[in-house]
Symmetry: D2
Subunit: 150 residues, 4 copies
Amino acid sequence: MTFETSVQVRFAHVDPAGIVFYPRYLEMLNGAVEDWFALELGMDFKTLHLERRIGVPTVKLDVQFLAPSELGDQLTISVEPRKIGRSSCGLDVVFSGSGRERLRAEVVLVCMDLKDRRAIAWPRELGEKIERQVAAPRAPTALCTTVSPG
Amino acid sequence: MTFETSVQVRFAHVDPAGIVFYPRYLEMLNGAVEDWFALELGMDFKTLHLERRIGVPTVKLDVQFLAPSELGDQLTISVEPRKIGRSSCGLDVVFSGSGRERLRAEVVLVCMDLKDRRAIAWPRELGEKIERQVAAPRAPTALCTTVSPG
Amino acid sequence: MTFETSVQVRFAHVDPAGIVFYPRYLEMLNGAVEDWFALELGMDFKTLHLERRIGVPTVKLDVQFLAPSELGDQLTISVEPRKIGRSSCGLDVVFSGSGRERLRAEVVLVCMDLKDRRAIAWPRELGEKIERQVAAPRAPTALCTTVSPG
Amino acid sequence: MTFETSVQVRFAHVDPAGIVFYPRYLEMLNGAVEDWFALELGMDFKTLHLERRIGVPTVKLDVQFLAPSELGDQLTISVEPRKIGRSSCGLDVVFSGSGRERLRAEVVLVCMDLKDRRAIAWPRELGEKIERQVAAPRAPTALCTTVSPG
């Protein structure tokens, strides 16, 4: 099951070459994962970090930058969980805009106890929700249907 | 041949969980590549971008986050070119501190004409310098020799 | 006339002390000014910078940080032009959330030709729109009416 | 007494208009204050925040941006305490490069207990050191002597 959120390329994101500076893409990516937790898993980062004292640091990140993005571009970010382990979770993330993929990323998060910084098993309610999403058939992505012929 | 630079973990780099927020690692990584160009290849980013009108965007990035870094940590960043193509360059980058690897990344840059945003062949003087570095035997890295037994 | 936009405090904005790191507030402030240009003045930053080759750098910034903001806070940012000169513009900006002001800023922007980096007069259509906003009576702000007695 | 540190303008600092994006200046400013605490007051931010559980948030910031800075510029940042209160401290900060002032800021910090986020009196050893610096005659700044005639 694919979650989608969107972001606009801001002045703050763009480098002297006129395109998004790639660490800013990764801030956007982190924001999309934050949205996925809050809106899809029902667990916002505030509750997760401050009340539950659980963090979800990224331990692996493979990114392909497929096309540059410019000031003002409207980007859609899709987040799709593809794998869940006892304390880890693999996500496929795609940034696209105007029918063109900009970035593809594979991200691995780990569920971590913030007190002693050790990996822990996913809390049951989170783990079950992620599992259901991994199992759900992938929707034909919006991208496939909105690519304009021109 | 391995180039080394260093960076201190600043307040600005650290997230609410007390560890470096990973997009900040990638700003540091970009800074290390900037240093490598200026100090090892003799071509600073100002000259490259503003005079030569050449950019070197990152097109691929595979990162493993091996251990967290905290406020005040002194990190060494090593940059080692491992492959050069007509217009691309592959780098191995390692962040370490206190004898412990924090991050390993494989980065692919592309040489790009900033005017029309197309990949171009490396300017000869840059390409030759990178080639010589790829060919040079790897120094036994400082890391191997400074890892403390404790 | 007051323009309002909103922003959510993200993980990326928060420092190790658990509150918004102030340079991130200023990224949000810049984003609010960007929104004001696009939505209120009808001139998005892409058109302004890339087509018209005009920048609007900040030349003066007086900020009071009145109350800290935390992960997950929903903030409203109001932007009110209070003065316009030949090539400058003074803005009052207020961040608030849950009926409490977080930040008050006075910002002075200058209209700049990007080619030679000199201050220039506002393009007529922009200048006239800003003037009308400066002259318009201030709306009683939402804040005044939503402050809770407790 | 004036403390000086330096910073180079990086690719990450520069906006699409080719000059330092002002929130990045404020990250540099925060870094200079961090250096002042560590090197001049003998209290690094790690010890202060993590061991002593004391924060020093900025509560007031008045900045004038006097001249733009570009990729590659070497900037000197001077930090001069001008006033100390029970729990506050006023600093004058100046960024300069090539004999030209780029930015002048007046900054007010507050000493804060991180547990309950209340202002507290400066720990004695910090307060005394800041007081001695406020009282010390200002050195003729390096700037005065390095301004080139051209």
